[in-house]
Amino acid sequence: MNPEPAGPGLADPVDVAELVRGAQRGDSMAMHELLDLLAPYVGRLCGPIALQDGPDATQEALIAIFRGIRQLREPAALYGWARAIAVRESVRMAQRASRSLPVELAEVPAPGDPQLTADVRDVLERLSPQHRAVLVLRELEGLDERTVSAMLEVSTGTVKSRLHRARRSFQKAWER
């Protein structure tokens, strides 16, 4: 239902800039196209951070993005700007849901385990939203520690320690 085209990296930057300008002018068809591009990207960020609240976090992040689109002066900055909003909204929503108490992992799924898909989620659920945000920004988005610390408003030392713990939890899954 409602198939969505690909996100960043596959869209022509010139086309994206034109869509941003159209959305800023209030052209709803441009907004519609931009939503097609952004929704999968925002969903990939909000999913691992907000988990069961991922769809609501995606919705709230996209509302914040489109309500604020007029303030985006440089269309080329769209994805970075949207990423910051998506991470902020998904951490906020996961914290509010009070499902974020980190629990020590007893066991990490073994490579080849057919239940790994479920186990990846299980590993994520045992991390706090902030840990999950660090993990997503460093490993999925490839940001450096300084950028991550600025985005999450924590020290680089905190980013390193959170990342260390998260990576340790995920080590075997990454080895697949």
Binding site: G26, A50, I63, F66, V120
Partner: protein, 161 residues
């Protein structure tokens, strides 16, 4: 990137949530949603049939004719009760319809309700005119009634199927 990333949870934006985003971002938009006690396919067979059903849902519309179709992109000509005409750009997908003319815009969305009972249906309408932000309080009052009426008419049409 390892294969493990491919199994990470991805949050999907269903059509109703998508319409909430559009409604929240468009100044002066009116919005309503309700769970209709009918399967998704039945609800969308009505809501997505623009030529035959839209005139029943929107009483100001006398006829709606699709004049061009390319994938999910349509061009439609609407005629109002007072004889006015409008050309609409339309995106039509399962559970989703977005329309824009020079002065009007609108959206319909449907998603199977979690738990398997019924279909969540949403309607949005808006004006593309300067100063629409100033009219928001008025449109909100009128629009809530309009949205409720559209959904009520849709329920009646669904019950006939």
């Amino acid at each position: 990137m390892s294969k493990a990333w491919q199994s990470w949870p991805v949050a999907a934006l269903d059509p109703v949530r998508r319409l909430r985003v559009m409604a929240a971002a468009i100044p002066g938009a009116v919005y309503a949603e309700k769970v209709i006690q009918a399967p998704f396919d039945t609800v969308w067979s009505v809501a997505g049939d623009l030529e035959h059903e839209l005139p029943h849902l929107l009483t100001d519309v006398r006829s709606m004719r699709i004049v061009h179709r390319e994938g999910d992109r349509l061009e439609a000509l609407a005629r109002g009760r007072l004889g006015q005409r409008a050309r609409f750009d339309v995106v039509l997908r399962p559970g989703w319809c977005w329309m824009q003319s020079r002065f009007l815009l609108g959206g319909l969305a449907a998603t199977p309700e979690a738990g398997g009972t019924g279909t969540r249906f949403a309607f949005m309408g808006g004006l593309r005119v300067p100063g629409v932000r100033l009219l928001h309080p008025l449109l909100e009052t009128v629009g809530e009634s309009l949205g409720t009426q559209v959904i009520r008419r849709l329920e009646q049409r669904v019950q006939r199927r």
